[in-house]
């Protein structure tokens, strides 16, 4: 390489760096961690009932041919409160919502449901967060769509809103 080219090398390297920075700026750092389990069979789990009035949840509940929503939530999670009315609407439209309460306790959970409403058909208590980790979920609230064969087909991170309703119902085979 000639000396002339070598002298342009720092320029070329820096210009390339700025190109990379520009691309980096266009995809700002976010905190969404997608689950690697999407497209795979729901991992084996059995979360005991949160309290006497309602059954717990297990992977075996998801193989009867009916698609369901699997909602990861907690009574200590403020966005989960905001999400409940939308889950109630989904329930009214015919969706079945299975809840997994993470790092929670029965008393707080009962109070949470009494105040905000209870859209869940079953609630599994995931005291140590092991089931949540198995699903590849990194936070609350998150909602998975599980098809009738027990396969995770979709992960929704954050609050379920009006805008997500139609899409979720289609995936559940209820809407069109």
């Amino acid at each position: 390489m000639s000396r002339k080219l070598i002298l342009w090398l720092p320029f070329a390297l820096m210009a390339a760096l700025f190109g990379a920075f520009y691309l980096g700026l266009r995809n700002p750092d976010d905190h969404v961690i997608a689950s690697k389990m999407v497209g795979q069979q729901l991992p084996e789990f059995a979360a005991g009932p949160a309290f006497a009035q309602q059954p717990g949840a297990a992977s075996t509940d998801f193989r009867d041919g009916k698609p369901r929503l699997l909602n990861i939530f907690a009574s200590w999670c403020v966005p989960c409160v905001a999400e409940i009315p939308m889950l109630m609407e989904l329930k009214a439209s015919g969706a079945e919502v299975v809840g997994i309460a993470v790092h929670d306790n029965s008393d707080d959970l009962a109070r949470f449901l009494a105040t905000n409403g209870n859209p869940y058909s079953r609630i599994g208590m995931d005291q140590d967060g092991k089931a949540q980790i198995a699903f590849g979920s990194a936070g609350v609230p998150e909602t998975f769509v599980v098809d009738g064969a027990g396969k995770i087909i979709y992960q929704h991170i954050g609050i379920v809103t009006e805008a997500d309703k139609a899409k979720l119902l289609v995936m559940l085979g209820i809407g069109q």
Partner: protein
């Protein structure tokens, strides 16, 4: 009113920067020495005005003036005064204003005190300094105004509790002064490229400025490392966080520059390389600023920002850095070749030093940016952590250190390998002694820490060798400075190796009146109590600690601080320092029932890391003092104002 005054001062400072640039460019380009005489006073006026703007911003923070958006978004009236003041730069806009204030002050310092440089080069340097400042003024005024008013806010949102620490009062200003002080070397290089003035005289003029910025950078990094150590509560002292790397990279470039400029000043060699490093050092500072302030990376150091601001800073950077490097590529061929030297010589050692430092710089840069680049190309999210950096940069740093021991014992131009080995003999004995010592008492430790300890012993012995058999009273101050700084490297490496090799850790869940051990200490939980702090609630564990289970017990109280505005909990580690190490305890959450999590570390000789860092900085100061003393003595020029040499070619 104060905010408006600050705004006016900022506009005026920007105007002064434009004037400084125009006057300097005309004086040099059109050969108008009369215009050149106005450049220095304008540079001083610019610095005074931007300082006034910054003072106004501090004033609105001190008064908790919630009608200023920045104060409302980042301060809180219940905050202690010191954090109201330091909160001025604990946010995006304020920290950018601090940045440009230091830039202005650096320009004024050059205008006032630089008198070795050829007049036309000095003017070109000041014009370059003004050009950089101008871009950042435009950024502040149009994209990041710190003085914007709002109405209807009664109380502020508060300062990130992690930043509510005395460290914030000193760490950012020191680090920034070092970062931005490097702008002097950058502007010098641009000036010299424009006026084709790259030579030993120029290098001697530039050296004190590099040294000054390098000292501040060293202090900033050392203090930042200690701050992270005691405030984050993980017991670590360096996390390879992108922003730490952003401060390390300019330091590496500046360290290389400091050594190559010595070759240029003393022997007239390494001309092109020195200029390239001078451009690179400040470029790395600016890239660091960009990484921290653009929102491209998230870390403890970043503030939430608007991505358009990131683009603005990126464009500024691209203009300055690629512009400077293009000028370098065009003009470097016209730089006269320097004096030649042999393979075994001090010059050659310094060249290898430079190469290793540059490779470490590239390793750190690659590790920092790889996740970013991979994600930009759609390759998913990864993170590059300590294992990569330690295993790649660690051996390189050790090789560099061995060279650091040998370098000062080599003669300039050429030397005999045999003679060098003779001079290194005592140092090699020290290394062998350390090896035996560790083998006898150290137990089984990793290869890298073992090498670290041995190399530290070699370097410690070799670094004092230049003073050996010398009349100590007559040894110049800068020789003392070099010896102290090199010794500091050995001390720091010894501390890092001890921390890596001998740290004892124990993480326990403990109830009242239970006792757990860590290293030679027995720790008993007496109880946990809650009490209010100034703007947070304190949860405090009272622990009774005794050495060997029999020593006199003493109390340690690690705390959790629960802030309400914004809601966040921070960890206040309890650290007890002994002559041979530190006991470091942090309190975790209530784990179950009446049990609490407690993390305990016994870290032998960990303080050496920061002691070494301070020795390096102090060595730099002695060296700077020695240079300045010699210059003043040579010149016998009593005023801090440059002589105007009209007879020199402009």
């Amino acid at each position: 009113m104060i905010a408006e005054a600050g705004m006016a001062a900022l506009w005026l400072a920007a105007t002064m920067a434009l004037l400084q640039l125009a006057l300097g460019a005309l004086a040099v380009g059109r050969n108008q020495p009369a215009l050149g005489r106005a450049v220095a006073p304008v540079a001083v006026a610019q610095a005074a005005l931007v300082s006034l703007a910054f003072a106004c911003l501090i004033a609105v923070f001190m008064r908790s003036d919630m009608s200023v958006l920045l104060v409302a978004a980042n301060s809180h009236s219940a905050k202690p005064m010191i954090y109201k003041i330091s909160g001025t730069w604990g946010n995006h806009e304020g920290s950018m204003l601090l940045w440009v204030t230091i830039l202005g002050l650096a320009g004024a310092t050059i205008a006032l005190f630089e008198r070795k440089l050829r007049e036309d080069t000095r003017l070109a340097t000041l014009a370059a300094q003004a050009a950089i400042a101008l871009g950042f003024y435009v950024f502040l005024l149009f994209a990041s105004n710190p003085f914007t008013r709002i109405t209807g806010v009664l109380e502020g949102a508060g300062l990130n509790p992690l930043l509510q620490d005395p460290g914030l009062a000193f760490h950012p200003p020191t680090l920034y002064a070092g970062y931005v002080g490097m702008s002097a070397a950058f502007s010098f290089a641009i000036g010299a490229l424009i006026t084709r003035d790259v030579g030993p005289e120029f290098a001697r003029a530039m050296r004190p400025w590099i040294l000054g910025a390098w000292i501040l950078l060293t202090i900033g990094i050392t203090a930042g490392s200690y701050w992270a150590y005691y405030t984050l509560g993980w017991g670590g002292w360096w996390f390879w966080d992108p922003v730490e790397n952003a401060s390390l990279m300019p330091w590496l470039a500046a360290t290389a520059l400091l050594h190559s400029v010595t070759v240029l000043a003393t022997r007239g060699g390494l001309r092109t390389w020195t200029i390239m490093l001078a451009v690179l050092a400040f470029s790395m500072s600016m890239v660091g600023t960009f990484l921290v302030r653009s929102g491209i990376l998230t870390s403890v150091h970043s503030f939430a920002v608007d991505p358009r601001r990131g683009l603005f800073i990126l464009i500024l950077l691209a203009i300055y850095i690629t512009g400077a490097l293009a000028l370098f590529a065009l003009r470097a061929r016209t730089i006269a070749e320097g004096t030649r030297f042999e393979l075994v010589s001090r010059e050659a050692a310094l060249v290898i030093n430079n190469l290793i430092l540059t490779v470490i710089l590239v390793v750190v840069l690659a590790g920092t940016l790889y996740p970013l680049i991979l994600e930009a190309m759609g390759g998913g999210k990864i993170s590059v952590g300590a294992p990569y950096f330690n295993s790649v940069a660690g051996p390189l740093a050790l090789a560099l250190l061995v060279l650091l021991g040998a370098g000062p014992l080599l003669r300039w131009r050429s030397d005999r390998p045999r003679a060098v080995i003779d001079r290194m003999a005592p140092a090699l004995f020290a290394g062998a002694a350390m090896l035996l010592l560790v083998a006898a008492f150290g137990g089984s430790i990793g290869v890298l820490p073992l090498l670290g300890l041995v190399v530290a012993a070699i370097v410690a012995a070799a670094s004092v060798a230049p003073l050996w058999k010398r009349d100590l009273k007559r040894a110049p101050l800068f020789t003392w400075g070099m010896v102290l700084a090199h010794l500091g490297c050995a001390v720091s490496i010894a501390g890092m190796a001890c921390d890596a090799a001998f740290t004892k850790e124990n993480m326990v869940s403990i109830a009242a009146n239970e006792t757990r051990d860590v290293g030679p200490f027995a720790v008993t939980l007496l109880g946990v109590r809650e009490r209010p702090g100034p703007n947070y609630q304190i949860l405090e564990a009272v622990l009774s600690v005794s050495k060997g289970g029999t020593g006199a017990p003493f109390e340690m109280t690690p705390q959790l601080h629960a802030f309400t505005q914004p809601q966040m909990t921070t960890n206040q580690a309890a650290i007890e320092t002994f002559w041979n190490g530190q006991l470091y305890l942090t309190l975790g959450e209530n784990s179950a029932g009446n049990k609490f999590l407690l993390r305990m570390w016994w870290k032998p000789f960990v303080m050496l890391i920061w002691l070494g860092g301070m020795m390096i900085a102090l060595g730099g100061m002695l060296s700077l003092l020695g240079r300045v003393k010699r210059d003043v003595w040579d010149n016998r020029w009593p005023w801090p104002w440059p002589r105007i040499d009209t007879d020199k070619p402009a």
